[in-house]
């Protein structure tokens, strides 16, 4: 789950990390009022859950509150990478001496948290990482021991941070690790962490990703979810615990298991088709879940055929068949459906589906071929 900049910074602040004075606004009038409170000179920052806001013109400096209002009007009317801007963050403008990159994230290979830091922070950090990887410092943290002050000092040394900032930086690093740990973040990023002209360390921007699997113990963060960036079908899917991603093709897919779902897409493509979605019904899918999955697939008018590829293990084919029948009863789809059931209770499942008018397949290749053909006919 992604958090907005203003949400991330609120959490940072709660853990003692200095952030600029500022507040979020949903209207130009609010933006003006906040700018007035902050003394006029502010940064107006679009709050959208994609990167590259700055380059898209979604972050602007206002010299006074009138300008802030104008810029807010302009930015609140924008769409950035297809996402509407619903809120802007109005932050006091800072006079900046240096921009640092500082983040804590999961290192999946090392199986532990890692600090990533660079003296060359700011919007071009990805380019730095690509072209000058030696300018990126990585230091691992033992998850049982946690962050230690000497680790922060080693990072400060490695990014040539002037000695006068070591004490503040160490404290900030300890606090950011607390943010990462206590929020079950998979990323807690400050970019840029700035040294201001009046010699302070301030988290000018903030980004957090939260581990979806840990949201059960993060009720406050769960409340912050902004579904603006998600397609309605994806929101619906999440409600049922389905992994669903809408794509551009015309063959709907319902598969159990992420690997097999990706593979089914691969094989559809291999035989000249285009998948309309990625959909993993998960392990041990109930008939309710399967029915919901089918409804979601069918809301996409592009879908000309559906491929059901279920290899029963923890999932039982008879449960899936029940779900399919239930959904068909409700939605009464007109498009051809190719079904392949193998594994746990496949026999029972196939028997249940005998009454329904479906195309059956033995192998995955066969199923993919048949669904590609069906979709072509359906056009």
């Amino acid at each position: 789950m992604k958090l907005h900049e203003y949400q991330s910074k609120t959490i940072f602040s709660k853990y003692g990390i200095p952030i600029p004075k500022g507040r979020v606004a949903a209207t130009p009038q609010e933006a003006k009022q906040i700018a007035d409170e902050l003394g006029g000179r502010v940064v107006v920052k679009s709050q959208v859950l994609v990167g590259g806001r700055g380059k898209a013109g979604g972050v602007k400096l206002a010299n006074n509150s009138i300008e802030a209002e104008q810029l807010a009007t302009q930015i609140l009317a924008m769409e950035i990478k297809g996402l509407p801007v619903r809120k802007v963050l109005i932050d006091e403008a800072s006079a900046i001496d240096q921009e640092i990159y500082f983040a804590i994230t999961d290192d999946r290979s090392a199986k532990r948290p890692v600090i990533i830091a660079s003296a060359a922070g700011g919007v071009d950090i990805e380019e730095v990482a690509h072209k000058n990887p030696e300018k990126i410092v990585k230091v691992h943290i033992d998850p049982l021991l946690g962050m230690r002050e000497y680790i922060a000092r080693d990072v400060a040394l490695a990014i040539d941070l002037p000695r006068e900032y070591w004490r503040d930086f160490t404290k900030l690093a300890m606090n950011l690790y607390e943010v990462y740990k206590k929020s079950d973040a998979s990323l807690a990023e400050i970019n840029p962490l700035v040294i201001t002209k009046d010699k302070k360390l301030v988290a000018l921007d903030g980004k957090m990703l939260i581990d979806d699997n840990a949201l059960f113990r993060q009720p406050e963060i769960n409340e912050m979810r902004d579904t603006d960036a998600d397609a309605p079908s994806e929101i619906e899917a999440r409600k049922y615990g389905l992994s669903f991603i809408k794509l551009e093709g015309n063959i709907g897919c319902m598969v159990n298991g992420a690997g097999l779902a990706m593979t089914s897409m691969d094989v559809i493509k291999l035989f000249g088709g285009e998948p309309a979605n990625f959909l993993d019904v998960g392990g041990g899918a109930s008939s309710e879940k399967v029915a919901a999955a089918m409804r979601i697939i069918l809301t996409d008018p592009n879908v000309k055929a559906i491929l059901f590829n279920i290899f029963g293990g923890i999932t039982r084919c008879d449960e899936v068949a029940h779900g399919i029948l239930k959904a068909m009863d409700e939605v009464k789809p007109k498009i051809p459906m190719v079904v392949r059931l193998v594994g746990t209770n496949a026999e029972e499942g196939r028997k249940l589906l005998e009454s329904a008018n479906m195309i059956t397949a033995e192998t995955l290749a066969d199923a993919a071929k048949k669904s590609v053909e069906a979709a072509k006919k359906g056009k």
Partner: protein
């Protein structure tokens, strides 16, 4: 010989009285006689499977009573980290965690703790192990594979079944199939299992089933190139997945171009591995 589990495995089931636990215990016990008991705190003293399997309150107690040498976990995700730790503390040398949806930071802590102990963890979020004809430890349907000389290792669940099933349809059998699970932080990786297969006298060929994300396949390629003598065939799922989209719980995120299917296939082919275009093609590549 085979890898990790065989007919001498003495298996405990953590979460044995739960819906999934009981269903798969029934399946495992029907496959062969390896399940010796289970654990559900608060239900110690009960029996399941018509009085054939005892239920204990703790792994320690179960281990003392049954002399188990492996434990499989079917508890809900929020309890799985402690279930793994409990089994490790009770001295179980092989732990298989089927549960999916375990929080990443929990697993990082668990992994750091297990690294201090002589404990092998398979999973979480994995289908478990199958040594055809001897031991079914997990949720891989028993009837889709036959005994043989091909070691199978996979990050995926159901995709593995596809491959086993395709193998069986060609009359090709497996020595052991190891599902290492798709989570970013897990207990056992490709290289660990490749090494076991390389050293296993019953295994003559190996099939490795990978997917996009991470860099375990690249490391495995490195191991195959430098250390392995047995032939390896492979398939990488997600060859057509759009970049930057998250493909479900498998943690298959494409980050900055790394971990793409193309990268992985290139690394594997450079190591002499034949990579299939679709899973049913793999068994034909040897």
């Amino acid at each position: 010989m085979s890898v990790l589990v065989d007919k001498n495995t003495r298996l405990l089931v953590q979460g044995i009285t739960g819906h999934e636990g009981l269903f798969h215990t029934t399946q495992m016990a029907a496959y062969s006689d390896i399940v010796v008991g289970g654990i559900t705190p608060g239900k110690g003293g009960e029996w399941v499977l018509d009085g054939k399997l005892p239920v204990f309150d703790s792994v320690k107690q179960a281990k003392e009573s049954t002399d188990a040498n492996a434990s499989i976990i079917f508890v809900p995700a929020r309890f799985a980290p402690d279930a793994i730790l409990e089994a490790a503390d009770a001295g179980i040398p092989l732990i298989i965690c089927i549960t999916e949806g375990v929080a990443v930071q929990d697993m990082m802590r668990v992994r750091s703790y297990l690294d201090q102990k002589k404990v092998r963890l398979i999973g979480p979020n994995c289908p478990g192990l199958l040594t055809p004809g001897e031991a079914k430890v997990g949720i891989i349907p028993g009837n889709i594979a036959i005994p043989g000389n091909v070691g199978v290792v996979s990050r995926s669940g159901t995709l593995t079944y596809e491959v086993l099933y395709a193998m069986k349809n060609l009359g090709m059998g497996a020595s052991t199939c190891v599902g290492i699970g798709g989570d970013p932080v897990n207990g056992t990786n490709f290289t660990d299992v490749l090494e076991m297969f390389e050293n296993d006298t019953k295994t003559e060929k190996v099939i490795m089933i990978g997917e996009i994300g991470g860099s375990e396949e690249e490391r495995a390629a490195d191991y195959i190139r430098t250390k392995m003598t047995k032939p390896v065939a492979s398939f990488i799922a997600g060859q057509t997945a759009p970049p930057g989209k998250r493909m479900g719980h498998a943690g298959a995120i494409i980050e900055g171009g790394a971990g793409t299917a193309a990268d992985k296939i290139k690394a594997l082919e450079a190591a002499g591995v034949k990579v299939a275009k679709h899973p049913e093609e793999i068994p034909t590549l040897f």
